[in-house]
Amino acid sequence: MSTALHRTASTTAAGATTEDYVTMTIGGQSFGIPVLNVRDVLSPQVITRIPLAAPEIAGSLNLRGRIVTAINMRTRLGLPSEGFVERAMAVVVEHDDEPFSLLVDEVGEVLSVPLQRRESVPATLDERWREVSQGIYRLDDRLLLVLSVTSVLGAICAAPIH
């Protein structure tokens, strides 16, 4: 409820040119996904490991009868992930009509930020990070990286064709 209120407030304050992001932290870094891309946010789930799958694929989980592939975002970003999957929150998104859940450390509030404050990602950033980031916002207390769902999942889905 409070996040919803927060959102409306900031929308009215900043006018029409804001974008709403669901914020989350992965390995201490804040990330945002456009709110319309997010289908669901889940508390830690029972995840079935899938042998032989790509290392980023943490497994599959059952979301109300739908089978959702879980992506370990820490591994995707090249961060250590021991014991991470068991306590991770899941952000459910869709890619090509298929549901995926992105495993992250924490899911925060929904933030509304003015679009004109978006900056491009610094070129010095790690390749794996740059690939999945669409831009960056300088917030008062932290930096918010915009996560591109298509980039995150596109590589995983395309890779195994050999």
Partner: protein, 975 residues
């Protein structure tokens, strides 16, 4: 495209498919009134609807075809080849038009005059008259035709209703009913004029009166109807006749009714019903089942939803089980039941008769037979066998392909058939039936069949197999080559009657849906394809297994049996070169560990617990390949709903799908095909199955005493005890060097010591030594440990595979054991081991020919090298029959060594036959048998054997052979 047109297209396509086969059927059963009625009705409906939708080209073609059919039905025209062909041509045109209608939404521009004229000529009983009758002359035809036929009547009724609505006081009120009324009126006229079954027009009016229509309204309606016909250009005289029909009582039957009326199904209608349209529908639905057209997507969605429901139900039941008594128990039970029923019902909606995939085949076969001038009959049985539509779609093309092949290439020309003493008509049979959870479809023909010799040739030229491989194959195995991809080359098409065309594609399609296809053919008699396919793919029964704490589902249909192995005692579990195998009853089963295939990390703790625990082997079969999958635990079986694997994991061949279990957790469904390919990726496993198959052919009943020992790489090894003279244990420190050999002073002589790898033993410490002795010569084989002496049936499961020093592997005392090739070591250590001997028996006479008759591969392997190195030239016969023919063919043998007990003719039979033959009566024949009691020996000598050697002592054979030779020399000297 509007909905109306869409519905029309769907309906018409269906109707056309039906017509195709029905018209061909009509040719065979020209007198069948029910069939004729049905065909006429379908064509009539198409025509009527076209008129309604304003599709003039379609309507005119359909009309012309209907005319012909109408005449046939009225008995005015006989069913002839011309009639059927012409109607089929019209049908093809209708199909073309409908297809373009579907693609563009409108009729294409074009002319159908030619077809229509041809149909007219046929209808008028002419065959080659010019198109003079093209514009139907006035005053010809029935009142029905003069009134504009069905479409004209329909239009007139529409006009009448519109006029009525405008003029009547109650018009506005009746508005919604008018369309129904229009239908009822049109139909009524048609019934009255055409004597088709249904509600007569007079009854329609009676109905209206019963429903409270006023006299005025009815009078107005009548006027409007008259007006309607007039406006369409119907002559006044005819209009009067039509209006007269309205008042004719139901009692006086229509004069125009042809005698066929009686043969039609009686009409049981309820004219008192409130709504005239009801009757209309009843009439239309007559003779058909009540069906509803539903979009396939809706059905698919329904199926998905039911799957979810099933899963949720399973989940609830699981929770229930752990809670014991609960107020939810009873309703849950009910839910359970309803869900099951619902699931079945929804599955039913996806079921379609297999006949739907056959609809086009009669036409196809007819056209084909016309084209190539053959006489072919297509017999179809079990067309109402139902299966899942997804599967139906997948087999449609393969079936068409196979039927076409049978008709095109299988069936011979009529003349050839008669010459071969077969009926002139070739028959292609297509049948379907349920068998367990499967559908079995058989496509067979009584044609020329497929000569196996030609397939063989083709296989060889295409390099699909070698001559030697083919040698070991049965006729049926060779026939299966037609499914190989390499077989469908252009050259194969012409030289092997084209049967190979795309058969690999057919097999792929069938196997993709979990089916099996087999081919059988007898030259000159016919061929037969048998397809076995599952009923449905959506829900399967699966075995839940666990491996390293992860659960997987294994489709039940590939599981043959489950074996539980206690790891502690681990009887029957062995390793060959690091590859695990299991002795399952009488064969070696290659094993794979699921953990290893899936690359699951084997955690220490899990390994420990399972060490004390037992493990399970799931024996699976994929095609002809049987293998065992090692898993940690086996749970129960569950009905699971197969869901596709996420795109990002689709490349993993081990998984065929994924599902949600009753407890809500997601698990992967293993693909036995994928696992099998993982197994056979290792050559050892493949060899195991191959050898296992051939091994079955040989005898296993001969028990041989084997000395089992361990040496070098740990696995058990064995030598026949009869070859071992003594067992010694010596400290190798006492061994000495003599040249390149390591020797031991032993019993006053020097004994070379060797190791299993053939090198002089250079080990230290006390070791057991197997001593092989022959005369003054000795050889010591240094081993690590002597395990046991076992009497075991000797059945070589695996050949040595080129490993020097090993004859092969066999199951001895429940363990896979390498059988040591003693002769190899004897030669290794002492090159002149045999040479010394060879000089004494024959002197300078040269080689002696020995014929060895022995069915056991083991003894052949043992004796051939032994005899060869002893200087004999060995010819082998695997059974007595072969031996006899070898002798008859002029084989000159100095001595024959024969087993007694063999499949087919026994050794006794052999010796009697040979003794009876002049050429072989004097040849010494030595019996070589596992039976060694005096009675056997006496019997052997009686039968004519020169000498008798037991299999327990093969080396004795050399002595005996040498002795017989000497005796023979003596005899010769004496003579």
């Amino acid at each position: 495209m509007d909905d109306l047109l869409k519905d029309f297209l769907a309906e018409t396509c269906e109707a056309l498919d039906l017509l195709d086969s029905e018209i061909v059927e009509l040719e065979q059963r020209p007198g069948d009134p029910a069939l004729l009625g049905s065909i006429f009705r379908v064509m009539h409906t198409i025509k009527g609807t076209c008129g309604f939708l304003g599709l003039p080209r379609l309507e005119s073609v359909a009309h012309a075809a209907e005319d012909v059919l109408g005449r046939v039905r009225d008995g005015e025209l006989a069913v002839s080849h011309d009639v059927i062909s012409q109607v089929l041509v019209a049908l093809d045109r209708i199909k073309e038009l409908v297809a373009s209608l579907g693609a563009t939404g409108g009729e294409p521009a074009g002319e159908d005059r030619e077809i229509i004229d041809a149909l007219r000529r046929i209808a008028n009983g002419e065959t080659a008259a010019p198109a003079s009758t093209a514009p139907a002359p006035e005053k010809q035809g029935s009142l029905f035709d003069r009134a504009g036929a069905a479409s004209g009547i329909d239009t007139a009724c529409e006009l009448a209703c519109a006029g009525f609505a405008a003029k009547s006081a109650d018009g506005a009120e009746l508005e919604p009913e008018l369309l129904k009324l229009q239908f009822a009126l049109a139909k009524g006229f048609e019934v009255a004029l055409q004597s088709t079954p249904g509600i007569d027009i007079a009854d329609v009016l009676t109905c209206l009166t019963d429903n409270g229509w006023t006299e005025e309204d009815i009078a107005l309606l009548e006027t409007e109807i008259g007006q309607g016909f007039r406006s369409l250009g119907v002559e006044e005289e005819d209009v009067a006749a039509l209006l007269a029909l309205l008042h004719r009582g139901a009692q006086d039957a229509p004069q125009a009714a042809p005698p066929l009326q009686t043969e039609q199904e009686p009409v049981v209608a309820a004219p008192a019903s409130a709504n005239p349209s009801t009757e209309k529908h009843d009439a239309a639905a007559q003779g058909q089942t009540q069906t509803l057209r539903v979009n396939i997507n809706v059905l698919e969605d329904l199926m998905t939803l039911v799957s979810e429901l099933v899963l949720t139900r399973n989940q609830l039941l699981q929770i229930m089980r752990s809670h014991g008594d609960s107020p939810f128990a009873a309703p849950l039970q009910r839910l359970n039941q309803v869900t099951t029923e619902l699931q079945e019902s929804v599955m039913m909606t996806r079921m379609q008769p297999i006949g739907n995939a056959w609809g086009k085949l009669p036409r196809l076969v007819r056209d084909l037979s016309q084209e190539v001038g053959k006489k072919i009959e297509l017999v179809m049985t079990g067309a109402d066998t139902e299966l899942d539509r997804q599967i139906l779609e997948s087999i449609r093309d393969p079936l068409t392909h196979m039927v076409r092949n049978s008709a095109d290439h299988g069936i011979e020309m009529a003349a050839d058939r008669l010459a071969a003493g077969k009926p002139e008509h070739g028959t292609v049979e297509l049948s379907a039936r349920h068998e367990g959870g499967h559908i079995v479809v058989v496509v067979s023909d009584d044609g020329r069949g497929l000569p196996t010799a030609r397939i063989r040739e083709k296989v060889l030229t295409n390099g699909l197999a070698t001559e030697i491989q083919l040698e070991g194959m049965s006729e049926q195995q060779i026939q299966q080559f037609i499914f190989r991809p390499g077989f469908s080359t252009a050259a194969a098409v012409t030289s092997v009657s084209g049967r190979g065309v795309g058969m690999d594609v057919v097999r792929n399609n069938i196997e993709k849906i979990g089916g099996i296809i087999e081919f059988q053919s007898t030259e000159g008699v016919g061929s037969r394809f048998t397809i076995k396919i599952p009923l449905t793919l959506a829900i399967v029964s699966a075995l839940i297994v666990e491996c390293e704490g992860e659960r997987f589902a294994l489709p039940q249909n590939s599981v043959v049996e489950l074996v539980r192995i206690n790891r502690a005692t681990s009887k029957g579990l062995d390793n060959i070169n690091g590859h695990p195998v299991y002795r399952l009853r009488d064969r070696l089963l290659p094993l794979v560990s699921l953990c290893e295939i899936l690359g699951l990390p084997q955690t220490g703790s899990a390994a420990e617990t399972s060490e004390t625990d037992s493990m399970y082997v799931v024996v699976s079969q994929v095609g002809a390949f049987t293998f065992g999958i090692i898993v940690d635990k086996v749970f129960d079986t569950e009905e699971i709903v197969v869901k596709p694997v996420s795109r990002c994991m689709r490349h993993i061949s081990c998984f065929s799908g994924t599902t949600i279990l009753g407890d809500g957790r997601v698990i992967m469904i293993l693909d036995p095909n994928g696992l099998a390919s993982a197994v056979s990726a290792s050559p050892h496993a493949e060899a195991a199955t191959l050898a296992g198959n051939t091994g079955r052919g040989s005898r296993r009943d001969e028990a041989v005493s084997m000395l089992v020992f361990e040496a070098r790489d740990g696995g058990p090894k064995a030598v026949p005890l009869s070859l071992v003279a003594r067992l010694e244990e010596t400290d190798l420190a006492t061994a000495e060097k003599a040249g390149s050999l390591t020797v031991l002073q032993y019993r006053g002589g020097l004994m070379p010591l060797i190791d299993l790898d053939g090198n002089p033993a250079e080990r230290k410490g006390r070791h057991p030594i197997l001593v092989f002795v022959d005369g003054q010569r000795m050889l010591g084989l240094v081993v690590d440990r002597v395990v046991d002496i076992v009497d075991a049936p000797l059945d070589l499961q695996l050949s040595g595979g080129g490993r020097p020093g090993t004859l092969g592997s066999a199951i001895i005392a429940g363990a896979a054991t390498d059988i040591v090739d003693t002769v190899y070591y004897l030669r290794q250590s002492n090159t002149n081991w045999f040479e010394v001997k060879t000089e004494s028996p024959f002197g300078a006479e040269g080689e002696r020919n020995v014929l060895l008759v022995e069915d056991s591969a083991f003894f052949r392997n043992l004796l051939i090298p032994m005899l060869t190195v002893a200087g004999y030239s060995v010819t082998v016969a695997e059974h007595a029959e072969a031996a006899i023919s070898l002798c008859k063919d002029g084989g000159n043998f100095d001595v024959i060594v024969s087993d007694i007990e063999m499949p087919g003719l026994s050794g006794f039979d052999l010796v009697r036959t040979l003794r009876a033959d002049e050429r072989t009566s004097a040849v010494p024949i030595v019996a070589f048998s596992s039976h060694a009691n005096p009675k056997d020996i006496a019997r052997g000598r009686e039968a004519g054997f020169t000498d008798y050697v037991t299999k327990l002592d093969p080396t004795a054979l050399l002595n005996v052979l040498s002795r017989t030779h000497t005796e023979e020399n003596h005899k010769e000297d004496a003579a």
